[in-house]
């Protein structure tokens, strides 16, 4: 690695944490929570932990169109309070988010409340650690909220997402502060992990645009078929983004606890069939919709056999296994329209260097 030269603007600030936090908010750098002053020493440590050149671009981030260098990522990660050891994960997450298929531009500007969620696979889950058992989606003490927050600060400070200015998000969501960072309980899953199913083995992160999380309770859950029916019908609520005629497609994320996953796998041996069953249940009768909405849904081709279908195909469903062993609950994380999940290995040598904006003609 060449000698480190940091290029970011240097600013003399009060090193008191409260004063610096206030300064950061005034400068538009902060999110309201305390921030760690990104000194040269700390930023240098984080860059070294990434294993990458400080000047390496992880991709152009929109709406600003700025290159997110490893140095900029490191500065934001320091501010967020993330551990230096999370830099390879964060670098992979930024690279994935910059992939044109993910449409970060649309995600950052939209009226919807979407946030990039990170699903982590591989040994790195245990090394950092990333929660995948009890309270996997929030509440377990550890580095996950700071890691998620680091990505949020990158999106604020590099991509230029500013609420009310470049972001039209009507409501936002709590995940827009500390992100959504979850591991998969691979050891208890009857299926290969999400990243492996998407063709990436080892330590990997998948970014998915999610509009929040909602609990799904089934206190009886007799068998796998019923669990999948409850999950599919829950996902197909009328306000799901992809139940609107203006949405062309939207992938969905569903989390099953390990007890439910075992029941499902026992009753439905083939994973493709698991996806198909949820897909088949994720519909609503067209005549449930207000009459004013029905013609647009028909015109958009969303209606078949008298039903509005949530997904275009079973492949639009992503299932992960995580959560405690207390049974009873699943979680659905409905997806954002017109963007696709992207998976990246934490091994940067595998990334495609030609990351550009979708239809980027500039």
């Amino acid at each position: 690695m060449s000698e480190l030269t940091l290029t970011a603007e240097r600013i003399d600030v009060d090193d008191d944490i409260r004063a610096f936090t206030e300064f950061a908010i005034e400068r538009g750098w902060g999110d309201g929570l305390p921030v760690v002053p990104p000194t040269e020493a700390l930023v240098t440590e984080f860059i070294a932990a990434s294993g990458l050149e400080s000047t390496r671009s992880l991709g152009r981030l929109f709406p600003s169109g700025a290159d997110c260098t490893v140095e900029l990522l490191a500065i934001n990660a320091v501010m967020a309070g993330a551990p230096a050891s999370s830099m390879p994960l964060l670098a992979a997450a930024v690279s994935a988010a910059a992939d044109p298929a993910f449409d970060l531009a649309g995600i950052n500007a939209t009226t919807a409340s979407v946030v990039p969620a990170l699903v982590v696979n591989g040994d790195v889950r245990n090394e950092l650690p990333i929660p995948y058992q009890h309270s996997a989606l929030g509440g377990m003490a550890g580095p996950a909220p700071a890691i998620g927050r680091a990505l949020r600060l990158v999106i604020r400070n590099v991509a230029g997402q500013v609420a009310g200015k470049t972001s039209e998000s009507v409501f936002g969501q709590p995940g827009r502060v500390t992100g959504v960072v979850v591991g998969e309980w691979e050891e208890r899953s009857p299926w290969p992990g999400l990243a492996e199913r998407r063709g990436v083995t080892g330590d990997a992160v998948t970014v998915l645009g999610v509009l929040g999380s909602a609990n799904v309770l089934d206190s009886i859950g007799t068998n796998g078929f019923e669990i999948l029916e409850v999950m599919g019908k829950s996902l197909a609520f009328m306000g799901n983004n992809n139940m609107d005629h203006s949405s062309q497609f939207a992938t969905q994320l569903m989390a099953l606890n390990p007890i439910w996953a075992d029941k499902v796998a026992a009753d439905v041996p083939r994973f493709e069939d698991v996806l198909q069953i949820v897909f088949d249940h994720a519909t609503l009768p067209i005549d449930w919709f207000p009459t004013s909405l029905q013609p647009a849904l028909e015109e958009a081709g969303d209606v078949k056999d008298g039903k509005v279908w949530l997904m275009d195909s079973p492949d639009d469903l992503n299932i992960i296994v995580c959560g405690g062993s207390g049974n009873l609950h699943g979680t659905m994380l409905p997806g954002m329209s017109n963007m696709l999940p992207v998976t990246r290995s934490l091994d940067a040598s595998t990334w495609d260097p030609n990351t550009t904006a979708r239809r980027d003609v500039a």
Partner: protein, 178 residues
């Protein structure tokens, strides 16, 4: 006191104004950019295409694609470049939500960078976002035609009437010489 590093990149954008005026449109190809989102925008551009034809121009409609795969995205990019190469004036819309505003302005800026007289069309609510995004591309005095908000959800006849009513102002914003 301590020295910290800024978490934001240093950016300098040259101000580029509003782009060239359209001048006479008789005999010129006027491109109308549609998207996949708004039925009302299809009706508006439909009406404007008729009016442009009446004014001696040749309207060319291009719909921005939304695709799932790399192939669709690549083809969309090639189609868009061909569209820009083919036209003399660009009308780009509709800024009517967050993500669609971003893409409409993205394509507006591309048309301006192509040297085309260009107007973006936005519903009133999304004007600030449209101007902010265009400003990031240097187009700080973007030609922007505002339409009533909400536009979507009105009956087709009403939207078409609104389009006809707003057509003269569209030409004014583009500095069309008739």
């Amino acid at each position: 006191m301590t020295i910290v590093l800024s978490p934001s990149p240093v950016t300098t954008v040259d101000k580029r104004g509003s782009g060239p005026p359209a001048g006479s449109i008789a005999g010129k190809k006027v491109g109308l950019r549609r998207d996949q989102f708004w039925l009302s925008w299809d009706w508006v551009t439909d009406e404007w295409a008729k009016a442009l034809k009446d004014d001696g121009a040749e309207p060319v409609i291009w719909r921005a694609p939304v695709g799932k795969g790399d192939k669709e995205m690549a083809e969309g990019g090639e189609e868009f470049e061909a569209f820009l190469d083919d036209i003399d004036v660009a009308i780009s819309g509709l800024c009517n939500c967050g993500s669609c505003t971003l893409w409409a302005i993205h394509d507006t800026v591309a048309a301006l960078d192509h040297g085309l007289p260009t107007v973006a069309v936005s519903t009133e609510h999304f004007e600030p976002l449209a101007r902010t995004l265009a400003g990031q591309g240097g187009w700080d005095d973007l030609r922007l035609k505002l339409m009533p908000y909400p536009l979507e959800g009105r009956p087709e006849d009403e939207v078409r009437a609104i389009a006809r009513e707003h057509y003269p102002e569209l030409l004014e914003v583009l500095e069309v010489v008739r």
